[in-house]
């Protein structure tokens, strides 16, 4: 019986090759898309799952005042937690920093993690070499990621005991970390003992409750009490941090390690986060595409069922029971979906490298037993979902009727097929609008005025010791137009823990970001001056200097941004010359004069609103701990110039790597996740449209075949090819229009909500809705036209022959 089932299924598959082919193609694309997206979703959700204690590890985030949660915490927090809270079993700290590595003749800049010795107890990476228990014990220990081992020693084995000079101190390799197969939010780089980080800091900072320089991870065994714990730790932290800064409240969040990657609200994570919303959206899209493919299958099956009506009649007349018929048709559907599943797997296998490239991920194609079972379930689900209507429909036919050939007049069948087409086009139209709106919004964000000129500027970390000499030498280079140093640069975060007040409204604190800069900062970044003047060598009192013994006698002028001027209630012109009161918290109050107002420029990126900003002048880079050297080149500079600048740099600071980034690249990379997800949305929207079009193609082919005689008659009566094509194509217009009517309002509300999440957003683009409607009609027309043209140009006599 099983063999017979199979043979009949195969013959039916071969009988109507076009329909079978279309059904199969639609299913393959649908299932392959589903699997790929599920791979991606799993990948996104799998971050950090490989660590044995992943479920018990929590990251401590701080919420200070009205700020977003931040992962940066005080260095002393870890110890305070383990000593004072029994629920906290253990804690470890991680501080990222860029370091200069000297090896043989070269100096290289690397990102390093300074970590406590129990780092590997939390994050149990596999070591190719070395002992996990002692790897970070010695002060000169060095854990290398395998890529770095290869970079410096060309091998991953036998490197234990080899030496590298890091920030001038010699370190000995104590372990090589194997690249994990499961993604993690831990940067895969070199790990150094925490005390080396301390070495760079004063004791005051190490002990400070308001100096946040590390990420704190804890192991907590009783997650049931987590809310109570959050409350008590918050109170503990608040009682110590209060008064040290101007923040009114200080709270903590205890966040599960497994939630970190998809949390894009908390700032300063070690790895750029992804977005939970997008992952959910893609999950939904994957099911939509699968549904589209199933709908195709059902649609074409019921259509093709008409030509099988006779088969049913004969079988029933011969005594087949309803169950037997249902079994026959369902197993055919399941067999087809099994075939589609297998081919889809092959397709996924072939597409995965390209998909990985698109998403810059490293998803691997290994199908486990569990996944195979899931796939089997999927096959069954698709087969049953897609096959049940045709199966029950066919097996319910009255044999007397079908033998007379009356199947084709079934009104409910036509209605069902039309509703399914409407559903498909509704999904496609919805995705189309969503893609358009998302693309335009992203385009808008990327192209909107940033308030600074990001072309042609590189930033180099550090360089404060040699800054003055470097600047004077570099400016002699013909391609360099200006050099500056600053505490932060556009595209990087700015500290926002300062407050300013108007003299006449001293109780009203305004939170501001503060960027200490050296001369030429505004020139280097092309930030326009709106009123007044900017810092200049000609004015000796411009440089900012706090006097901690006598706060009142602190000196220095202020340049503020437009937003701050507006927040203070002044126009740019009015603001110039006014005095502002700075300080508060532990510090005394001190007044400074505004000398100029500059236009707003986006720090971090436009996902965040422009903060009110003050700029102060640092006479020497060291005075206000400036961190970034920025160099503006003339347009069209060559790689050679960059090399020459590097030579100038290394000539002055041979131990400090010249690692530069173009501001444009930093800017682009801050939108990396969004760009990838936009592209992914585009790809799968396209696939959804393709699947829909394939389904429509099949149905149109079927309908046209049914009307072939009518077409011939009309032709004989004088209908032109154009008239016939129009008639055949037009039958789907109303369906497509109805689906748009259903989908577009839904898309409107969802996209409105989505756009509302953005601070800088486009107005709802109504043209997207028009475009989507027009586009879906055009797609339908083109698809059906292929069939219609063939039918309309066929010789009428051929059709009339086939009686």
């Amino acid at each position: 019986m099983g063999k017979l089932l199979f043979i009949v299924a195969w013959r039916n598959f071969c009988r109507d090759k076009l329909t079978s082919f279309i059904q199969l193609t639609g299913l393959i694309i649908g299932i392959a898309s589903f699997i790929l997206i599920q791979f991606y979703v799993d990948h996104q959700k799998s971050y950090n799952t490989a660590f044995t204690d992943a479920k018990d590890i929590y990251r401590i985030n701080l919420i200070r005042g009205e700020n977003k949660p931040q992962a940066q915490t005080p260095l002393r927090l870890a110890k305070e937690l383990t000593q004072n809270f029994t629920e906290v079993e253990d804690a470890t700290r991680i501080s990222p920093s860029s370091v200069s590595v000297k090896h043989l003749q070269g100096v290289y800049s690397e990102r390093a993690l300074y970590a406590d010795a129990n780092y590997l107890d939390f994050f149990d990476f596999q070591l190719i070499e070395g002992d996990v228990n002692t790897a970070l014990d010695a002060p000169d220990s060095l854990l290398l990621h395998q890529d770095l081992a290869i970079k410096y020693f060309s091998t991953t084995v036998g490197v234990i005991g080899k030496r590298l000079t890091i920030n001038g101190k010699e370190h000995q390799v104590t372990g090589v970390v194997k690249k994990p197969t499961t993604p993690t939010t831990m940067p895969l780089t070199m790990i150094l003992p925490m005390e080396n980080f301390y070495g760079q800091l004063s004791q005051e900072w190490i002990e400070a409750w308001n100096f946040n320089a590390t990420r704190t991870y804890t192991k907590i065994r009783q997650p049931a009490n987590i809310n109570t714990l959050i409350q008590t730790v918050s109170d503990y932290y608040d009682s110590r941090a209060k008064g040290l800064s101007s923040f009114k409240t200080n709270r903590v969040i205890i966040q599960p390690l497994l939630d970190i990657y998809l949390d894009n609200t908390t700032t300063s994570s070690l790895t750029p986060p992804s977005s939970e919303v997008m992952v959910t959206v893609f999950s939904i899209i994957s099911f939509m595409i699968l549904l589209l493919a199933c709908v195709n299958f059902t649609n074409l099956s019921t259509a093709a069922a008409m030509s099988r009506g006779k088969d049913v009649g004969v079988r029933k007349a011969l005594g087949a029971s309803k169950i037997q018929l249902v079994t026959q048709y369902l197993s055919e559907a399941v067999m087809l979906s099994a075939l589609a599943c297998m081919l889809a797997l092959v397709l996924v296998y072939l597409c995965l490298p390209a998909f990985n490239q698109l998403m810059t991920a490293e998803m691997v194609f290994n199908v486990s037993i569990a996944q195979l079972l899931q796939l089997l379930a999927l096959t069954l689900l698709v087969g049953v979902l897609a096959g049940s209507y045709p199966a029950f429909y066919l097996s319910n036919l009255s044999p007397a009727h079908v033998l007379k050939g009356l199947v084709s007049t079934s009104k409910s069948g036509v209605l069902l097929r039309q509703s399914l087409i409407i559903l498909q086009f509704a999904i496609a139209a919805f995705l189309l609008v969503a893609s358009l709106v998302v693309n335009w919004q992203m385009q808008y964000i990327k192209n909107m005025e940033q308030g600074f000129n990001r072309e042609g500027v590189i930033v180099v970390s550090r360089g404060d010791n040699t800054y003055n000499a470097f600047k004077s030498q570099a400016l002699r280079h013909p391609d360099i137009t200006s050099v500056t140093m600053s505490h932060t640069v556009p595209t990087k975060a700015t500290r926002t823990s300062n407050t300013v007040r108007r003299l006449d409204d001293i109780t009203n604190e305004i939170w501001v970001g503060n960027n200490p800069v050296s001369l030429d900062f505004f020139k280097t970044y092309g930030i326009k001056v709106l009123s007044g003047r900017i810092f200049s060598k000609a004015y000796v009192n411009d440089a900012y200097k706090e006097n901690k013994d006598d706060w009142q006698s602190s000196i220095g002028k202020l340049v503020i941004n437009q937003t701050l001027a507006a927040t203070l209630g002044w126009s740019p012109e009015e603001a110039v010359g006014q005095l502002l009161t700075l300080g508060g918290g532990q510090d005394g109050l001190h007044n400074h004069q505004i000398i100029g107002v500059v236009e707003d420029s986006h720090y971090v990126n436009v996902k965040n609103t422009v903060a009110p900003m003050t700029y102060v002048l640092s006479a020497e880079p060291k005075d206000l701990s400036l961190r970034w050297t920025s160099i503006r080149f003339k347009v069209g500079t060559s790689l050679q110039s960059l090399k020459e600048v590097e030579q100038i740099w290394l000539g002055l600071a041979p131990n400090l790597a010249f690692k530069y980034d173009w501001i444009t690249d930093l800017f682009d990379s801050s939108y990396r996740n969004e760009n990838q997800q936009t592209e992914m949305l585009n790809v799968f929207t396209l696939l959804a449209i393709v699947v829909t079009a394939i389904g429509l193609f099949g149905l149109a082919a079927f309908n046209t075949q049914r009307r072939v005689k009518e077409i011939a008659v009309r032709k004989i009566l004088g209908a032109s090819t154009g008239q016939l094509c129009f008639m055949l194509v037009n039958q789907f217009s109303s369906l497509v229009i109805i689906s748009n009517v259903i989908a577009l309002p839904l898309a409107y509300f969802l996209m409105r909500d989505w756009l509302d999440n953005f601070i800088y957003r486009i107005d709802m683009p109504y043209s997207a809705f028009i475009l989507s409607a027009v586009f879906s009609l055009v797609i339908a027309y083109i698809t059906v036209m292929v069939i219609a043209y063939r039918a309309a140009t066929a010789k009428p006599v051929d059709s009339l022959h086939c009686e």
């Binding site: 005689k709 009518e710 008659v713 009309r714 032709k715 004989i716 009566l717 004088g718 209908a719 032109s720 008239q723 010789k795 009428p796 006599v797 009339l800 009686e803």
Partner: protein, 256 residues
Amino acid sequence: MIKFNQISRSFIGDEVETVAIDQMNLTINEGEFLSILGPSGCCKSTLLNVLGMLDSIDSGEFSFLENPVDKYSEQQRARLRKQHIGFIFQNFNLIDELTVEQNIELPLYYHNVAKAERKRLVDAVLKRVDISHRRKHLPAKLSGGQQQRVAIARAIVTNPDLILADEPTGNLDSKNSTQVMELLQQLNQEGATIVMVTHAPEHIIYGTRVIELLDGKVVNDQLVKEKLNDKTSQIVDAGSTEVVNTIKAVAEVTCG
């Protein structure tokens, strides 16, 4: 009106080539009512399709109203067909989804006739075939004879010069057949040229000329008058039962 000169048409099947029309010569004059007789598969329908320009020919010359049809493209033939020819089929070929009057209106619509004019012409022709009372019905609700009258109405509504009928009574009972044949005869008497393929020899008496086909060739070509003369001793008036029966018997002898 129509001139065939050495016309040939063959079909290539899987293994054999079937010659449907074999170097045929035939002239059809305006005003004739030509019946084509012949056994099944003797190419009657092919001939009709060629005449209706639904099918092309392999070789020979075919002129229709002085137009060299054999040199025409598919499009030119379609235009000629649209202007001059009406078709009647054995199985009526009405469009199921359209009502009687919509079916009849269809060719006018494709001829770009204005709406008011279409209505006038449809009304007239409905009356002509005596089916006005059924104008709003769908074909499925009509009897076979009524359907064929609608099909005839549709064929003549554009007032074609030539009407091609492919076994118009093949699916009808004798009473309906007679009605249809009388209608065709009437149309012919009013000036239409008719070419009819038929399996029913008794219907040739409604026409003016009869040809018999065998294996792609015309094997007999006579005026109906002559044909009847050959087989019976007297010329009879068409109409009386006795005479019809006689003719039937004669025709059966003639056509096998």
